[in-house]
Point group: C2
Chain length 208, copies 2
């Protein structure tokens, strides 16, 4: 899909997952929605919604709005979500444990198929009756055997850069990192940051 | 500060915390930086950096760039970070525990001063030798006594909306939520979402 829409600004792509989230909730109330309802739900203008979606094709009709199932399927296709994704969890501390216990990933087609850590005390531990923490020394073999392309990086900031570099050597193409440092990686590697301090500093701009 | 810069687009405000993060790392290498170096570091163009910062004033000089300490101080002022912020943690499951054990909040002036949960088995438990989990029934008293304006919401999605509504009744103005639902709250309440699935769905757009 990514070649088809190469010119779509990333800021629009970034909004599409939020559309999916909104659509899944609006679907509980009915089969159709419109740009005004979607906009109200998400805090964007109706014009913004129409403009965003028009980048990808004609999904709705003037007057009748959007069929929610159809629009969901289209956005799923655009975001490459009409398939399952395998992930490796690198770092099994508190955040790692929270991730392994969170059912929202697999409910959305993202499956943690392996978890690794460098701490000998954690290796061999079974989490959630499902995943056995393995040694980080096996990371190359695990990634290659399972053909994993996405890593969740929950290691300390001090080792995040070197760990990320190692992961991409073995074939990882996308990294969701919880380490509070900015990673410097080749431009074809997609990195998303989960950084609550940055979100808090955004909030405080608006507080007194 | 928020009245002074009322017309600044939120998308620019959202980038300022990332500038702070970059500046703190660049400061380890020297006293000054420039829009090109900052841009390379953050993945924005130099022109973007100059345009963003010019919204707030004159922070750099043609040819000599930015003094890092001065620019950091200015951005801290803009984001209301030249003070400490008190937070309450609402929900003490896995993510809540990870938050209580994370030192990055207080290192950046954000202090979790209280944690509450509805689970009787958790109430009274001491985390990290510092915080005792209290009953959610005390939440009004805690927020008012400590004059807390920011909440971190780590409750199940099914109760996130009602919990958020309760919190703002008691004076909470900003919410960082980990619950995977979109909250519907008054427009003067600032909400930021930590949602790894949304970040993953953004990554997969670019993968094959």
């Amino acid at each position: 899909m990514n070649t088809k829409f190469q010119t779509i600004p990333d800021i629009i792509v970034a909004r599409l997952p939020r559309y999916l989230r909104a659509l899944s909730i609006l679907r509980q109330k009915g089969e159709t929605t419109n740009s005004k309802e979607l906009g109200t739900f998400l805090g964007y203008s109706a014009a913004q919604i129409r403009k965003d979606l028009s980048q990808f094709g004609e999904f709705g009709k003037q007057g009748t709005g959007y069929n929610i199932d159809f629009l969901t399927e289209q956005i799923n296709n655009i975001l490459n979500l009409a398939r399952e994704w395998k992930m490796i969890l690198v770092g099994c501390g508190n955040i790692g444990h929270a991730i392994l216990n969170y059912s929202g990933f697999s409910a959305n087609g993202f499956h943690v198929v392996a978890a690794v850590d460098s701490d000998e005390n954690l290796i061999g531990k079974v989490i959630n009756d499902q995943i056995t923490i393995q040694s980080i020394n096996n990371v190359e073999q695990i990634i290659r055997n399972h053909q994993i392309s996405i890593a969740m990086l929950t290691v300390p900031a001090s080792v995040a850069q070197e760990t990320a570099e190692e992961l991409i050597k073995y074939g990882i193409k996308g990294i969701l990192t919880y380490a509070p440092i900015i990673l410097s990686l080749p431009s074809d590697i997609r990195v998303e940051y989960i950084d609550p301090v940055i979100s808090l500093q955004h909030i405080t701009y608006y507080l007194n």
